[in-house]
């Protein structure tokens, strides 16, 4: 569908990412996923495209501008690479650079951001704890002040990029119960009292790492606090908006991949004496997948427009983003399932993009705010 918001630069950037995915990722995605790792070089190559610099000043290696359409284009095209672990392996930084940039002090930003944005080092965001991820206001990791330091105790889990990141944005409790007692810290991987272990044997996203992080009297300089004390919850919530748009756009790319694979297979495979694409049941599956793709694409464009407008003072479309998140994962679930049916037994074998996409539906439906929590947030936004 023609996008009413298209510009020459947006088209060109999407084209760059699409070509990059085609040439630099797709041919290797299967192998990387089986190996459980992507080469670090890929972080730097994607960094060189400018993909990590949205909303970051040029002084820190960023683009010096933001554009939600381009962010979405990046995630959608990455979604088409057929292995969600690839963008995830690089994606810790996408969700952690904004708090560093918006809330960190000058020295810290100069020290951390240029390397992270260029892909030379990694960064992660650590909110979820072994005790729970949905109820962010109730997180248990503690931080107490000790002279010029903060001392952290507790643990985080499911942290994407956690094993490899040099810098981790950590939410910890500095005040009383609930959402008014949470602060954000930048914890460097070599801080005393910090350790980590990998989460193994996951359903999907094999070539990305997720870690459990331990803070055992972990000392960080007081200057590593990001933003004001006890004001971290709102920063975490704000940060979720762009993360969720990225996930929604990635779902769209995954859906398009499912459709493309389904069509290719249905044209080539014959059953009952004719190509599958000539059977009405299969044609209807294609129609249903395609209609969901059109609808999600239109919604993504509308939300991107609204997010760009929010830079000019409009409200962030929080309710729409929340609804889009579960709408997208449900649509993806449908498309991945139908694509599996069209592929039949061939789809059940490892090493094809549809099988992997089907397994990776759930991380999209749970990570970054689960479907249940997204519905709850949407209804709260309705004042109910």
């Amino acid at each position: 569908m023609k996008n009413p918001f298209e510009t020459e630069e947006r088209r060109a950037f999407r084209e760059t990412v699409a070509r990059f995915v085609e040439a630099e990722i797709k041919p290797f995605a299967d192998q990387w996923d089986e190996d459980g790792e992507i080469p670090w070089e890929l972080h730097e190559k994607v960094g060189a495209l400018g993909a990590f610099g949205f909303g970051i000043d040029e002084a820190y290696g960023g683009l010096g501008f933001d554009d939600c359409f381009m962010r979405a284009a990046y995630w959608e095209e990455m979604g088409r690479c057929g292995a969600g672990g690839v963008p995830a392996a690089m994606g810790g930084r996408n969700i952690s650079v904004a708090p560093i940039h918006d809330l960190g002090n000058e020295d810290l930003k100069m020290r951390v951001l240029p390397n992270v944005i260029a892909g030379r080092t990694g960064s992660s965001l650590a909110i979820t704890e072994p005790g729970g991820g949905s109820d962010v206001a109730n997180l248990k990791t503690q931080a107490r002040q000790d002279g010029n330091h903060w001392v952290l105790n507790g643990s985080k889990t499911f942290i994407t990029g956690g094993m490899k990141s040099d810098h981790i944005v950590v939410a910890a409790r500095t005040g009383g119960e609930g959402l008014t007692g949470v602060s954000l810290f930048l914890v460097d991987h070599d801080s005393p009292g910090f350790s980590r272990t990998p989460l193994d044997r996951k359903m999907g996203w094999w070539c990305s790492d997720q870690a459990t992080l331990y803070f055992d009297d972990c000392r960080v300089p007081a200057t590593n606090m990001l933003g004001e004390q006890d004001r971290g919850f709102i920063a975490v919530m704000n940060n979720f908006n762009l993360e969720r748009i990225g996930l929604v756009a990635q779902c769209l790319g995954m859906m398009k991949l499912c459709l493309a694979e389904s069509i290719a297979w249905a044209q080539q495979r014959e059953t009952f004496g004719k190509p599958m694409i000539r059977h009405q049941v299969i044609r209807h599956k294609i129609a249903d997948m395609s209609a969901r793709i059109d609808a999600l694409e239109a919604l993504v464009n509308q939300i991107c427009w609204a997010v760009n407008e929010s830079a000019n003072g409009d409200d962030m479309p929080v309710a729409e983003i929340s609804k889009a998140k579960f709408h997208a994962t449900k649509a993806l679930e449908f498309c991945a399932s139908e694509a599996m049916q069209i592929m039949g037994g061939a789809g059940y074998l490892r090493g094809n993009a549809v099988e992997r996409t089907y397994r990776e539906v759930k991380v999209m439906a749970i990570g970054g705010g689960s479907e249940e929590i997204m519905r709850d947030l949407a209804v709260r936004q309705m004042g109910l």
């Binding site: 630069e9 088209r11 060109a12 950037f13 760059t16 990059f20 993909a51 683009l63």
Partner: protein, 249 residues
């Protein structure tokens, strides 16, 4: 050193080309178009020469419909300094392109013109050679390595038997082969910078060139569908098939 690089807008190399139902040509409506891959190599080589301090200016030229501007923008995002667009909806044959390019060379006086060895749409492999002839310049075609030494160029050419190294004087015409380099991706900061780079637009008439086609396309047909292969059991069967079915022996 000033470099002119030709960039042609062609059907994207990933697209499965289809013949128009009336047999007059190849379907280009609603088909993804991109820069001719050999021209990307040309731009990459020019930008590398600029980065190395050998070249001072890189000018990207495209000839054809309005959307050729997108192709020029891509070249600008890869690092070219400015663009020239000769706007026409007419079909341009290699000779017309070579004449238009010559007219631009006369205006711009570059030290080198780089073109692809061929465009992947009609695979003519003529334009660079025709341009060199019209200009009376030396040519280094099918270049797989280029070294500039003052006012001469060493060109390694891909020829049937292997590689041939020639030395030619500047100004010269170069056509690129596949292995000359690996073109870069246009990064987002460079895409944004490209927006501000100038593109001059002109018509063939402004350059005093008559682009009327001299060739007539009689028909365009799809290649015959290939039949699936068969396995033969014996040598005798193979010989029988070669004799009686394929009729090659």
């Amino acid at each position: 050193m000033k470099l002119l690089v030709a960039v042609k807008r062609v059907v994207d190399y990933n697209v499965k080309v289809r013949v128009k139902s009336d047999g007059t040509g190849v379907e280009t409506a609603n088909v993804k178009m991109s820069m001719n891959p050999f021209d990307e190599i040309g731009i990459e080589e020019a930008v590398r020469l600029k980065e190395a301090g050998t070249a001072t200016e890189v000018i990207a030229i495209s000839l054809g419909v309005q959307q050729c501007q997108e192709t020029i923008r891509t070249a600008l995002a890869m690092g070219a300094d400015r663009g020239i667009h000769v706007l026409t909806d007419d079909v341009l044959e290699p000779l017309a392109v070579a004449k238009l390019m010559k007219a631009i060379v006369d205006k711009e006086s570059p030290d080198m013109v780089i073109l692809g060895k061929q465009a992947i749409d009609d695979d003519a492999n003529q334009t660079g050679q025709m341009l060199a002839a019209l200009l009376g310049w030396p040519q280094g075609t099918f270049a797989s390595k280029l070294t500039a030494n003052g006012d001469s160029l060493e060109v390694v050419r891909e020829v049937d038997g292997g590689l041939e190294t020639i030395k030619i004087s500047l100004p010269a015409v170069i056509t690129t082969d596949l292995r000359l380099n690996e073109p870069r991706y246009a990064s987002l900061p460079n895409i944004m910078k490209a927006k501000k780079k100038p593109i001059d637009q002109m018509a063939p008439a402004d350059l005093g060139v008559d682009v009327t086609p001299r060739l007539e396309t009689v028909s365009v047909v799809e290649p015959e569908k290939r039949e699936g292969g068969v396995k033969v059991e014996t040598v005798a069967e193979l010989i029988d098939k070669l004799q009686n079915e394929a009729k090659v022996i």
